[in-house]
Every structure is written in C-alpha cells, then in structure tokens.
Amino acid sequence: MAFLIRSVTQTADHREIVRDTRIDKEVLGIGRAAENEVSLPDLSVDPRHARIEARDGRRIAVIANGTLGFEVDGRSTRSTTIDSGRGAELAFGGHRITVGHEGADVVLTVRRVDAVSDAEEERDEARAFSLRGKLPGRRLTAWLLVAAVLLGFLAVPVWTFMKGPEKTIYEAQAQHSWSSGPLSAAHHQLEGNCESCHVQAFVSVRDSACASCHKDVHDHAPPERIGRARAKPTAWGSLLQAVAKTFGKPGPGACVDCHTEHEGAGRMAETKQAFCTDCHSTLSQRLADTKLPNAGDFGTAHPEFRPTYGQGRVAIGAQIASGLKFPHDLHLNTRGGVARMAQTLRGRYPFGDALDCKDCHRPDRDGVRFQPVEMESSCGMCHSLAYDNVGGTVRTLRHGDVAQAIADLRASTKHAPRPPALDGGRRRPGEYQQGRVYSAYFGPASQRGSDYAVRLLFSQNGACAECHTITPVGNSWTVAPVVQPGRYLMHGWFDHAAHATETCTSCHKAGTSGASSDLLLPGIETCRTCHGGENSRAKVPSSCAMCHSYHIADGAPWAPSRPVGRTTEDAAPNRGRERR
C-alpha cells in the first residue's frame, strides 16, 4: 500500500491544477515545515502537526504530534483511525484533506479552502467602503420614522377625538401633543380636554362653546348696533377678513377675537386697546344717536369724566348738594382747634397731631371704595349729642330721629337741672367730646323749659344745624338728607386699594375745600399724571380694559388680580370679579 498525495490548487481565474505525488512510506508527516510529506503552507498549522500511519491495506491512523488537534468530518480530535474505503475529511487550519481509496493506494486530496487572508476574500467593494451595513438603511429609517410620527401624532389624536371624552392617559397625552401652548390659568382645568372648546373637527371655536360655561356674560350692546358701530376696515383689513371668512373663522366680534388662548400659562393676554377704539374713537360718525362721547387713547383722546350724582351726571369741579355742612379744610387744618382737640383725644382715638382722612373715612372690606361716614362713630368722637347726666350715666340724643330727640329732651327737662351751669369761662375742646354733656346747648336750655331747649336744638345756631340743613315744618323740623355716594363713576372701575401708594390729598383736594358742596373727585388730568394710553411712555400704560368692562357689569373689568409668575392660587381665575 502506498499514499497518493493529490494537491489541488486554484489559479486566479478559478481553474484547478491537480498534481499527484505517490509516496511509498508507512508514515507520512503533516505540517507547515517543508520536510513533511504533506506540507501545508498554512500559518495555523504547526510545523510538524501530525502524522499518518498506515495500519493495513485500507485503514490509516492520524495522530497529532503536539497539543494542537485537527478535525475529522467536522469533529475535533487528536487521533483517529480511518477506513480509506469509506473515506473521511480531515481539516488542518485552512486546508482540507480528503481521504479516499484508489486501487491499492490511499488517496489524500489536499486543497486549501480558506483564503490566505481576510483581504483576499471576495467582497462587494462599493458596499465595503461605504457605510452601508453600519447604519440602518436610509429608506428603512425614513419609512419607520414616517410611520411612527403619523401614528403617534396624527392617527392617535384623531382616534381619541372620534372616541369622545373617555380616553386613556396615553391617548390624552397624544392628543395633548396637538396643543400649541398651555391654556391660561382661567382655563387650566380644560387642559387635555380639547373637545370642550374644539367641538367639531375642522370647525373653528364658536361663541357657543364659550357660552356653554359663561352663561351670564352680558353682551356689550345689541348686535345690530355693534355691527353699525364697527369702523369699516381698511382694504388690507377687508382682505384679511375675507381670507379668514374663506377658512371658516368666526367674527368679527367673536369671543376668540379678544380672548386668545394657548398663549402660555398664567393670565390670559390682555385685550388690546384697538379692540375698543376701533369703534369708540369715531363712534359718533356711525352711530348718530349715541349718547357716548368718542373715546380713544386714555392719554390723548379720552373725554373728561362725567360722575353720576343723584339722578344725573355732573361735571368735575361742580358744586353739589350733599345736604351736609362740612368744611374739609377746617377739619384737616393742622393748627386750629380741631387739631388741638385731636391731640387732646389722642389716647382715646388713633389720632395724630391733627385729623387725617382715615380718622373718618374707612375703606370697605376689599378696599375698593369707602364706607359711608357715620355720625356716631366718626363725627361723634368730637361732636357729642349728650344732653343729660343721671348719676354719672350720660344720656345721648338719638341721631337721625327728630321725633325721638324732641321726646328725649322734653322728658329730661321735667326734672331739676342737673348739668352744671356754664361758668362763663373758656371751655377746653375736650369737654365737647363723646360722653360729655354738650352743655353749650343743653345746659342753659334745660334751665328754661323743654320747649325752649327743643327749639334751640333745631334753631339756626343749634346743635343739629351746625352740620345739617334744618327746615321747620309745623310743630316739628325736617333735616335735609345727606348724600354720600359710594361710587361716582358707574361705567369705569376705580380701585382705591390699587392706589395705596398715593396719599388721599394727591388726588382729592380736600385740604383747600371749605364747603361740602365741593365735588372733590379728581379729573382725568390728575389720572394722566401716571396713566397714559396702552402704548404711551406714561408710568402706567393703560388700555381700556384696565377700567372698563366690555361685558357691561358693575364689577371690576375682567383681569386676574395678580401678575404672571405667582402661585396658581394667586393667579386663580376671576379674582378681579371677586373684588366686587
């Protein structure tokens, strides 16, 4: 038996060259070294890797010399016996040796199956040198992204809208992705509830959606009059309106024209002055029968205030019939008897060196306006109506009830005179105060009989007439009613609390007013020292909505009471209305 070594090599054009070598030996060496009978130029094969021994006519043994083994029909081993008649394939590194039998010879077919190096392997050069395979394909990525965006940002929100108000958190989130910005604080609870305003798909938000919650909002004027009052738009304005109409936008005059949403959290953006002045600055040109004077920018084109007094309007600086005799200048004088009395009574009342506005005028609960001045609590601190003293208990006339006063006085003078007679000396102001008997009137009167005392009380020099206008009627007297309006500007809003940084007299010229018939309301020029129009450089640029309410209500015009950036509670909706 001999070995026939058949080495098969490939040319560059893939033709095979077969070369047979017959070796008549019992043992063959296999390895990288040239002295081996089966020499394999393969770096992964040891120089003397293994040997093949002939066992009998057909069988051979393959035994590894070192620690490195080989493969027989795909299985690793270090020695094996092969029946060459049945055949087998040996693998050493990148070479394969096929064992076969031909005649009396064992045939070992040797061929290299692996390329010498990786670079040798055939590959698509254009692909290898490019990024293909390194990144997901552009087309695949594009389609995946398109599908993801259309599903998440289009299909799901539309599906959610179709489904109605019941939605999962994910559907709500997907729908919320359509919101162009947060809603204002007033509408915050509608966030994620798109259907409440966007009632129908592809139909713009209608007034009916707003009115479904805002049921009591008052219209500004009859729609027909508003239509006539609105200034004719310019050519550009007409074009914009035409385009808006083509696209189905409501208006002009729709809720959303003034109240714009999705402009960010916090307060809703203030309505621009132009929304009012478009009609009101030239109103008389279109509404001939209007009683309203034209009004534009507050700083330059706003008419003087026309305060309401009694049943009608009066001019700023007019004389009014208040029904009271009250010289403000006397009471606010820092040097006269009033001031002296204030000093005397300082321990008992919160007076300063002289009387101050706050000593009589007390703000109402929200500070917007003032409570009416009451005789008992304010005037009565100094102007006592005490007329008798019974065992240390002072008796006081009831203010505001003529018949009761007459009855009280008559009853008291039936007794022996109790108040001390006038001693003729100068009386100190403190003795006129509340709780002391005001004997300047009642003392001597009580000595001379009840009728005299009553007549004296209501006489031109009597206690009542000091402040009131008294008219005798038969056997009695009437007192002219005192008018103390809480509010003069019925269509504009003025908040005293908002002006706390000012003093009273910086607007109301009370210190120089000698009669209560002076209307001490400041005119527009006083306001204009701080307030100007919306775009003015005044200290306080003020649009119409700062004082006026479009939806004609007698409360404050709609505006959150605090600016943006405070806590949610501060920015709570309609705080302005609560101030009413």
């Binding site: 770096l43 010498v116 992204l145 965006v149």
Partner: protein
C-alpha cells in the same frame, strides 16, 4: 465646452470672465442664491417686526400663516432635490443651480421657520416639526462642510490610489506575509495569522468615524514579532501592512464622515414631512 462658452461673463472691469463648470455649487453665479436667500430672510424678519398681530407673534396670526405657507412650500421644493438629482442638466435650471438654491434656501428656512413659531416652543407636534426641520438643516450644514473640506483630505490621503488598488495592495502584502511567515514558530505564526484574518472593514459606525482601532492584530503582531530575531522580512512586511492599513482606515473614516450626514438628512426629511402633515392637519382639525 458649450457650457463654458455659454457661461462666459463680463466682470466689472469689462474683462471676459470664464465661469467654468468646475465652479462649485456654493459659488454658483457669484452667490446668486445666497443673495436671494439673504434678501428673503431679511424681508421676513422686517415683516415680523412690522406686522401688527395680536396678542403677540405666533404661528396662528395672519403673518404666522403666511410664513408657514412659505416654509412648507420651500420644504417640499427642497425635498424634490432627491428626485431632481437623478437628471443632470445644464443651463439656468442646471443641477448645480438647483443644488445651490437648495443649500441657500434651505438655510433661509432657519429664519422663516423660526419666525413662524413666534418663538413659542413646547413639547408638541408643532415644535417637533420645527426641531426636525432644524435637524435636517444642521445635518445639511454638516454635509456642506464635509463636501467643502473632506475631498481634499481624502485625495491627499489616498495619493492617487483607487479603492481597488488599496485593497489589492493589502492583498499583496498579506500574501507575502503569509509566505514569509511559514518558517515562524507556532506562537509567532498565530500572531501573523490573526493579522491576516482581521477584517479591515469590520467594526461599527463609531470605529469608522473615530478612526480608533485599539484591537489591531497587525499592530499586535508587530509588537510580538519585534521581540523575536532574524525575522526582518516579516517585520518589514508587517510595517508596510501597518502603513497601508492606516491609509485605508483614514480613507474609510473620511468617506464615513462624507456619508454619515445623509443618513440623518434624508430620514429626518421624511420624518419632517410626516410631522408637517400632522402639524397642518392638527391646526385645521382644531381650527
């Protein structure tokens, strides 16, 4: 040549100036599209400050809708470059003119698209569209920078070798290395074998872009073989292979940098068109 003569031009001094066809798309017609885009950007910026919109500028005002319409038409036209590039033509609407307009009008979208938002950005589909637009533009800017800077580096690196030649060179060295390494001891032969087995194209995107090859078997073989002696041939072959690999890897790196922006630019463009579809539908849906 016809193109050369047709593009003949007179400069200010009256000299005949030849605008060759090699004039890049950036400088096309003395930056014609740059000027047009700059004028467009300036006009929309002026309009932004002059337009009387209430309560503040946003995409839902008349000016916002105008800018949005311009932007979406521009985006669709810019996308058409992908179709247009498949037909090369010359003249007024040559592919070069088209590309030049694509680049500069695309840049002007930064202004138009951003002013359309009125700077009101948030976590919503509208801002998604804007962000994708910006991603497309920024990747495009990267592409322009790559096209302007890298070809020079690419050609100086390959020194007139083609890719096939580079690969052939590597194969030749490998074959010689294989031959020369036959007498080596098994441990050294294994080092050489690892170098031969290593795929020069292997590794992910990051390795391509960074050009870092820490596990280079050839470098390791060089270190191992140096310790042996009498193996000058294998050593010198390994050194040659190292140099060849360095060139090839730099080539791959530069090519990757030239290509990678398109893997962002193109898919992001399609995502942008999808986001625009959702954006516009949502606006009219909740009109």
């Amino acid at each position: 040549m016809a193109g050369v003569f047709r593009d003949r031009d007179l400069d200010r001094r009256g000299r005949v100036r030849e605008v060759t066809l090699h004039d890049g798309f950036l400088r096309h017609k003395s930056f014609r599209w740059l000027k047009i885009s700059a004028a467009l950007s300036l006009a929309v910026t002026l309009g932004y400050f002059m337009a009387d919109v209430t309560p503040r500028p946003n995409g839902g005002s008349w000016y916002g809708y105008t800018l949005g319409t311009i932007a979406v038409l521009l985006i669709l036209w810019l996308t058409l470059l992908g179709v247009r590039k498949r037909w090369m033509t010359r003249g007024r609407w040559s592919l070069k003119a088209w590309t030049s307009a694509h680049v500069y009008l695309g840049l002007s979208l930064i202004v138009i698209g951003t002013l359309h938002t009125g700077f009101q950005l948030g976590w919503n589909v509208h801002t998604l569209a804007w962000a994708l637009m910006m991603l497309v533009i920024v990747s495009g800017i990267w592409g322009i920078i790559a096209y302007a800077a890298l070809p020079k580096a690419l050609s100086s690196n390959r020194e007139e070798l083609t890719q096939t030649q580079m690969l052939e060179g590597l194969r030749a060295i490998d074959r010689q290395l294989h031959e020369a390494a036959q007498p080596l001891a098994p441990s050294q032969a294994a080092l050489v074998q690892k170098s031969l087995d290593q795929n020069v194209f292997a590794g992910g995107l990051w390795r391509r872009l960074s050009g870092r090859h820490r596990g280079c078997a050839t470098a390791r073989a060089l270190r191992g073989i140096r310790r042996g002696d009498g193996l000058e041939k294998v050593q010198s072959l390994l050194e040659r292979k190292s140099a060849m690999l360095a060139r090839l890897r730099r080539h791959l790196q530069l090519k990757a940098m030239l290509e990678v922006w398109l893997y962002v630019h193109v898919p992001a463009t399609f995502a942008l068109i999808a986001a625009l579809t959702a954006h516009i539908t949502s606006v009219f849906f909740f009109w």
